[in-house]
């Protein structure tokens, strides 16, 4: 698995947001929703505020082999859709790079 993933952040706050994903993004959400599957091929990585091995995002991440960073406090507040971000799976951090 890639240890560093860079891309545009996409903040998902409701299930409807998944229908607006039309290019590769790094998904940032409190947790994910079953509707994530409609955009799954465009998701390079998932960042969530929740941290649990049986949360929906964890299951989806394992099923589809999508890198996942969990337990990022206030991720949906600290980033906004369109931010260029870098997810570092070694240090378990996400930061804005532009």
């Amino acid at each position: 698995m890639k240890r560093l993933i860079q891309g545009k952040a996409f903040i998902a706050r409701s299930e409807r947001d998944y229908y607006n994903i039309n290019k590769p993004i790094i998904l940032v959400a409190r947790n994910t929703h079953p509707d994530i599957v409609i955009a799954i091929k465009k998701i390079k990585a998932i960042v969530t505020e929740v941290d649990n091995r049986l949360c929906h995002a964890a299951i989806i991440s394992r099923e589809y082999g999508i890198p996942l960073l969990m337990g990022v406090e206030n991720a949906t507040k600290n980033f906004k859709t369109g931010d260029e971000v870098m997810v570092d799976f070694n240090s378990k951090t996400i930061c804005k790079i532009k």
Binding site: E15, R16, H33, P34, D35, N52, R53, L54, C55, H56, A58, I59, R62, E63, G65
Partner: protein, 142 residues
Amino acid sequence: MKDLLKYTYLLDLKKISENTERLWERYQEILDDKKSTWEDLNEARAILFFLGHIFVEEIALGSLEKRVKFVRPAISLDNFLLAVDRKDAAVLKKYKNNKKFAKLRDFYLIVKGIKNRKKGEWYLDEKRFIKIYRKKQPRNYF
């Protein structure tokens, strides 16, 4: 909810499945009934929180963490979850005739069934619940 916890302790998959369905049906019954009271809606709220969060993310996870240690050859919980979710042929073949592995896998699939349950627009029909709950909320609620 007590029964679901009891049968999880016993790892009785049939009863676990029956009890989760019973809770889901009761939750739906409350949401469907226009005569549901504020007390009924708080029962629905309890079911939603128990089934959607406490059971799957606390109780079931704890049960899997504890029981996976009894599987031989040894496998970590992360590798177990990965093998089941990715349908990893090599790992599944290795444990093909392992009853403990199979039982934990089937338990996890029941839990996943809850996590992927969607009705209406939201996970566990939560949007409809919130709408009805707010509508019935007493003015003096605090």
